[in-house]
Every structure is written in C-alpha cells, then in structure tokens.
C-alpha cells in the first residue's frame, strides 16, 4: 500500500455543513409554525346536540335520534364499545349511576351485535337504549376523541358536561352533581 496523496478539502466543501444546517433550520422553523393538533375538546358544551339518527345496536330495540334526547329529561350519554377495556372497568360505576336514578343512553362505537351482547352479559346493561354508530359519526359531531366518554344532556337536548375517559368510583358523585345541575 502506498501513502495516500495529501488530501486537502477545498474551501467551499468546508462550508457544506453550515449549508445543510441552514436548510434544516428553515425546514424546522416552518414545521414549528404549524404544530399538529393533539387533543380534541368538545366545543359543544352549552350547545344543542347536532341532528343525528342512529339505528339500534341490538335487534328489536329502539334506536336513537336527536329528538329522543330532547324529551324533557336529563340523560347521560355514554359512548362505549365492547372492545374497549376501560369501558368494562367503568361498568360498575354506570350501574351505580343507574341505581341512583340516572337515565343512561349508550352509543356503541364500531361494534358487532354479538360482541356487544357478550359485553352486556358480562358487565350488565345499565342503558335504556343503545344506538350503533359504526362510522364514529356521532363521535365526530360531539367532538369526542375516544371511548369511553360521557355527556350530560339536559331535557332540551343541550350538552351540559363532558367527561373524558372512564368514570371512576370516586367520580360518581361529581357526575350526579352535574346531572342535578342540568336538571335545574
């Protein structure tokens, strides 16, 4: 092997790193001005539930439409799914709310009747009616980001409160208080 010829980088090559860095800065500065959205918050609190009409989730039961929510009684609309683990964890709290006299309405998201039946057999069915939302339509309309989520809707069909995530045992009184407030 021979000694390599003396190599000296030509001067403009030494500025290449700075150039690459400048390009990176431009790219990132642009990206920083357009941050990606992270969390969806319902902007609908205090507003009426949008128009919708959903088929029943289980055969032989009534479906759910906007008119059903504006029948003069406060309701807790629970968005859930049989494939959602926290929903199963939430079940005892929903049962407690039903025992306290709350009118619960369920919306099953992207679910199958057979799965739903097993879920309800295992965890109990606190709902007066369950609608099937197979394209997450109502979810988008209500501005909810995931399951489970619960909405307190007053007798005029106006959304009064949104609860993100499952309702925990220590939050049952909070939900009851919100329902009472909505009934006033």
């Amino acid at each position: 092997m021979s000694e390599p010829a003396p190599t000296r980088a030509s001067p403009w090559l030494l500025w290449l790193p700075l150039l690459a860095f400048a390009a990176f800065l431009a790219l990132v500065a642009y990206g920083l001005r357009n941050p990606a959205p992270r969390e969806v918050r319902s902007a609908l609190i205090g507003k009426p539930v949008p128009e919708f009409n959903l088929p029943p989730a289980l055969d032989g039961q009534p479906g759910l439409a906007r008119a059903d929510l504006a029948d003069g009684k406060v309701k807790l609309v629970n968005i859930f799914a049989s494939w959602c683990v926290p929903c199963a964890v939430e079940a005892p709290q929903l049962a407690a709310l039903k025992a306290a006299g709350v009118n619960l309405v369920g919306v099953a998201i992207r679910d199958k009747p057979a799965d739903l039946k097993i879920f309800l057999d295992r965890n109990g069915n606190p709902f007066s009616r369950i609608a099937a939302d197979n394209v997450s339509a109502i979810q988008f309309q209500l501005g909810s980001s995931g399951v489970p989520e619960s909405f307190v809707v007053d007798g005029r069909g106006v959304i009064r409160y949104q609860h993100i995530g499952e309702i925990r045992a220590d939050q049952v009184p909070l939900i009851l208080a919100e329902i009472e407030r909505a009934a006033r």
């Binding site: 092997m1 000694e3 030494l14 990176f24 992270r38 049989s82 097993i118």
Partner: protein, 647 residues
C-alpha cells in the same frame, strides 16, 4: 423564602457566566491580558452557585413547598420521597435546571484541574462553555423559571406524570442529560481549539475523558430507555425507531465516532479537522435531540413536556451555537495544519473507515427522523418506520462490524493484511460455520448475517489480548476489548430475538392452556383492579417452562384517567436463556380474552451487551484518568522539589 434564594443564585450564576464569556473572550486579544486570571475562579464560583440553585429546588420538592408553581404542578405530598426528588427533574423547568447545573459543575471542574492545554486554548474553551451556558440560563430565567411562585397556595399538588413514576424512568432522563452535557464540554473544546488553531494530542487528551464519560452515560441511558420501552409499551420489541429514541441514538453515533477519532488524535496526532467536526456534530445532535423531544414537532410515543414556544427558544439556541460553530469551522478548518499521515492499512485507516460508516449511519437515521417533517411541509403525512431504518442502517452497520473485528489487530501508521491474516482465520471460519448452519436452518438474511458476525466478532474482539500478560494489561485496552465483545453479545441477542422468537396471539377462556415455545401458559382468571391513579384488568397466568416449576404472572391492561391514557403492563419471566413475555389484550369476539405471548430466546443479551459496552467505556475512562492523575501528582512533586531547592 428559600425559593427566592434559589432564584437569586440562578441570576448570579448567569451573571458570572456572562463575565466568564467576556473575560475569556477578551483575554484572547492582546489588550485583554489583565483579565486572564479572572476566568478560572469565575467558572468555579458559577458552578457552585448553580449547584446551590439546584439543591434549593431539590429541597423545595422534598418538603413539597406548594407556594412554588413547579412543585404544585408536579408533586404531591403523599408521594414517596424518591419520586418527590425525581419530580424535581421529571418536568421541563427542573430538567433544564439540572442541565445547566451539570454544565456549570463540569465547567468548574475543568477550570480547576485542566492544566495541560496551552492557557489561551483553555481560556477560549471556558469562554465557549460560558457562551453555551448563558443561552440555557436565558432560557431558564426568561422562558421556564423553575422558581415561579404561586398565590394563593393550593392545598395539594397535582402529582407526577404517571408514566414517569417508574424507578427506571426516574433516572433515565438525567442519565442521558449527563451524556449530552459531557458532549457540550467536547464542543467547547472544539470551539476553543478552532479559535486558537491549536489542535493536537494535548487537546485530544484533555477532551478524551469528557467524550468517554458522556459516551458511557449515553450508552447506559439508551440501554435503559430501550428496556423500558420493551416492557412498558407491550409490543415485544426493543427498538421502535421512534423519533425520541432516534434523538438519543444520533448523539450516541456521533459520540462513538468522536471517541475513536479523538483516540487517533491523542496517540497519533492525526485526523485533526475530522475530530473538530465530530466534536461540533456530537453536541449538535444532542441539542437537536432535545429540540425534537421538547418542541413536539414530531409525533412520538413519549411526548414529554411538549411546548412549541419552548421549541422555538431551543431552536434559536441551536441556530446560534451550531450555526456559529459551523461558520467558525468554515473559516478556520482550512488553516488548521494537517496532522500526521498514515497508510490505508493501519489502525488509523480502519478507524477512519469505521468513522465514515458511523457517520453514514447517523445520516440515515437523521434523514429518516426528519423526513416526516419534510413531507409534512410538502403537504403529506408519512411515518417512517423499521422497513426503512432496518435495511438502510444494516448496509452500513454490517461492514462496520467487519472493520471492528479487524481494526484493533492492525498496527498504527502502517501495517500489512498478510500479518493479521493468520490471526483472523479462526474468527472467519467460525463466522462461515455459523453462517452455513443458520442458512441450513432457514434463517432470514439479516438475522443470519447478524448471528454469524456475532460469533466471529466475539472471537476477534478477544484477539488483541493474545500474547499479552494479564498483569501488564492497561485499563484502556481492557475497556476496548470489553466494549467490542459487548457489541458481539448485543448483536447475538438481537439476531436470536429476530430469528428464534415464537409468538402466539390466542383467544383464551379462563382455564385454557396455551403453548408458546417450551412454555405452557394457563390463563386462570381476569379481574378488574384499581391503583392510585389508574384502573386495570389484571390476568392471573400460570406459566411452566418444559413442565417445570409453576410461575405466576400478572399482565395488566391499565388505563390512567388523568390524562386518560391506556397502557399495557406486560408480565415477564426471565430465564438465563430468554424471556417469556405476556400481554393481556382486548376481549375477543366470543368473550374470550386475547393473550399475546412471546418466547424470546436470549433477548436479555441485547441489554447485557449494551451494559458491557458502557462498562468498557468506563474502564477506558478510568484508565486514562488514573494515568492523568499519576502525571499530575508527579509534576506537583517535581514542582515542590524545585521550590524547596530554590529556597
């Protein structure tokens, strides 16, 4: 009251950093010689003051002083003390304070002990260091003050982010930070040397312990982070090419290259400009990593303290430091005199090839990480994953492993392959043998290559010890052998995991037994359980290895409620030859439970190998430090004797 003391200490430290920058910078010119004596003491006092500020923050967290906003937001009086303390740096402001504290202490230490560099270079280095610190002080004081007060005082705090309440994660970020800060010192050295154009062995020797130390911490941090992701995310993988993971990998790749080139500079006075460039790049990558993680500019599984305005601040710092250093490089690199020459077949030659390959890998990872951002700018949403990263990085990593086996056997300056040919026959035969065996057993290409190279490399990595007496071995050599052997061990773990893992996804009723590899796993029951800030479904699973003793495992599907977030807590059973990994999934169609089971032979070797690599670096660092110390002591003795004789 105490909080105000911390804030005052922080302001004074910032003022001293400004003074250190001015005095250091001016003393480089002819007119500023009078200030020369000021720089070192100022650096020491600055370090002490910022340490006071950090201790104050630790104190505030330990007593849960809720009049401080940061404490109220991130702590809770009912938390165990260890998480109260880790809460001090488990948030944006506190972690930035930790960053400047480590930086200040490192600067103080540097000012105290480093005497072998020409004083001008040393002053320039300390000035550069103060310049970097000053940016972070400004960031702290103007955009993320950790001592902001809260009025009225709340009754209790909000608690720490639940995913951070994990012993591993309490120490994972600070470990990486110390690594990043170590690289900032290397950066300051590089800038200092560029300013005075004094790049040589003394400079490399002064820089080397910092690079080694930073590299050890980065390695340990990455190993810990990888294991955390492995058991916490419940996907059974150990590396996801997630932007945050890449953010820690990129400085590591640069630091690895720097580590090797600084060694060449220290012992052979070659690769001068290359070392300088890598010094700048390594710190750039750590700043870039911090920026990517903090700004939330890329979507990641572990977004932490995300805030675009802070991102903008870090970006400005990045632009000033890195842009400035690269401009200085453009101006000065051509005037730094060329180092020693060497032949292509020599230790230096092998190290250069490896450095180029490491840099290329770094480029691949950087491109893959930033590409989604570029695509988004052009209006498309893409996500770059393993199908890009795995083959692309393998293209460079596999030849690198070959060079890694051969390089340490070559002599410095000039050598002949004929000489080392004999030595390499055995490793080569082993590589081919394992390769053929793997081929017959029908392994896929990448695991096959990895497996074959792992065995050959393990043997080759031990060869530098051949013919040496154990008593006379120097620590840096042992460290190198150990680190290279660790690479082989980790590689074997990766290849074994990729090739031999058996996975089963089953729907099971309680009472069902499932077989996965040599394990029989029985699902006993699934019950809901509640923790302090989460609820979960917990399965009880009985596992037997080849009909042996019964082991009970408890995988969970856990959901946190503030913020609402689902995690799966996998359950692991570790044996010497692998791990059983159980994840509880969702309810299947007919009401049975989904269970995901993996038998992963030798997977733990990935992390043990990583730890061996870190240990190797630690030994090398200790070796260099102890010989430095011996030299300092000897010099002091000579100086003392001269002083006595003169009297």
């Amino acid at each position: 009251m105490i909080a105000n003391l911390g804030l005052a200490a922080l302001w004074f430290a910032a003022a001293l950093a400004a003074l250190q920058l001015l005095a250091g910078g001016m003393s480089l010119n002819k007119g500023g010689q009078a200030l020369t004596g000021l720089v070192r003491p100022v650096a020491m006092v600055q370090g002490a003051l910022v340490a006071v500020a950090f201790l104050v923050l630790l104190y505030l967290f330990s007593v849960t002083d809720l009049s401080v906003l940061l404490v109220a937001k991130n702590s809770h009086s009912a938390k165990p003390l260890i998480y109260k303390l880790s809460g001090a740096w488990g948030n944006h402001e506190g972690s930035m304070l930790l960053w400047v504290t480590v930086m200040g202490l490192a600067g103080a230490f540097l000012a105290m002990v480093e005497r072998r560099l020409p004083e001008r270079t040393m002053l320039a280095t300390l000035a550069a260091q103060a310049f970097v610190s000053l940016g972070f002080y400004a960031f702290l004081l103007f955009a993320s003050n950790p001592f902001t007060r809260l009025n009225p005082v709340p009754l209790d705090g909000l608690g720490l982010n639940p995913t951070l309440q994990d012993p591993g994660l309490a120490f994972h970020p600070p470990t990486l930070y110390i690594g990043y800060v170590g690289l900032s010192i290397a950066f300051s050295f590089a800038v200092g040397a560029m300013l005075t154009r004094e790049v040589g062995p003394a400079f490399a020797k002064a820089m080397r312990p910092w690079v080694l130390g930073a590299w050890v911490f980065l390695t340990a941090g990455i190993v810990a982070g990888s294991y955390w992701a492995y058991y916490e995310l419940g996907w059974g993988g150990w590396w996801f090419w997630d932007p945050v993971e890449n953010a820690s990998l990129m400085p590591w790749l640069a630091a690895t290259a720097l580590l090797h080139s600084v060694s060449v500079l220290a012992s052979r006075n070659a690769l001068r400009t290359w070392t300088i460039m890598l010094g700048v790049v390594a710190f750039s990558m750590s700043m870039l990593g911090t920026f990517l993680v903090r700004s939330g500019i890329l979507t990641s599984v572990h977004a932490f303290a995300v805030d675009p305005t802070r991102g903008a601040f870090i970006l400005i710092l990045l632009a000033i430091y890195i842009g400035g250093a690269l401009a200085l490089f453009g101006l000065r690199a051509a005037t730094i005199s060329e180092g020693e020459r060497f032949s292509v077949t020599s230790r230096e030659g092998a190290l250069v090839v490896n450095n180029v390959l490491l840099s290329a890998t770094l480029g691949i990872v950087l491109m893959g990480t930033l590409y989604p951002l570029l695509a988004e700018t052009l209006g498309a949403k893409v996500s770059v994953g393993p199908p890009y990263f795995n083959p692309m990085s393998a293209v460079f990593v596999l030849p690198m492993l070959v060079v890694l086996a051969v390089g340490p056997l070559l002599r410095w300056r000039r050598d002949d392959f004929v000489r080392v040919r004999k030595l390499l026959i055995l490793p080569l035969a082993v590589t081919l043998g394992v390769g053929v065996m793997a081929l017959i057993s029908g392994m896929k290409l990448l695991p096959l290559l990895g497996m074959a190279l792992a065995f050959g490399l393990a043997l080759a990595s031990l060869l530098p010890l051949k013919g040496r007496r154990l008593r006379t071995l120097r620590l840096p050599l042992i460290g190198m052998v150990l680190a290279h052997f660790g690479v082989a061990v980790a590689l074997f773990g990766m290849a074994a995991d990729a090739a031999f893992t058996t996975e089963r996804l089953v729907a099971a009723n309680p009472g069902d037994t499932v077989e996965v590899g040599p394990w029989q796993v029985k699902l006993e029951q699934v019950v809901p359980v509640a923790g302090p800030n989460w609820t979960a479904l917990e399965a009880t699973v009985q596992a037997r290895y080849q009909g042996g003793k019964q082991i009970e495992l408890h995988p969970q599907a856990r959901s946190f409620w503030s913020p609402p977030q689902g995690t799966s807590e996998s359950a692991l059973s570790t044996r010497w030859n692998g791990q059983l990994y159980v994840v509880l999934g969702e309810v299947a169609e007919d009401g049975r439970w989904q269970l995901r089971l993996w038998w992963k032979p030798f997977v733990t070797l990935i992390w043990y190998g990583g730890l061996l690599i870190a240990l190797g670096g630690l030994l090398a660092m200790l070796g260099h430090l102890s010989s430095d110390l011996r030299r300092i002591v000897a010099q002091d003795k000579i100086a003392y004797r001269r002083m006595k004789q003169g009297r």
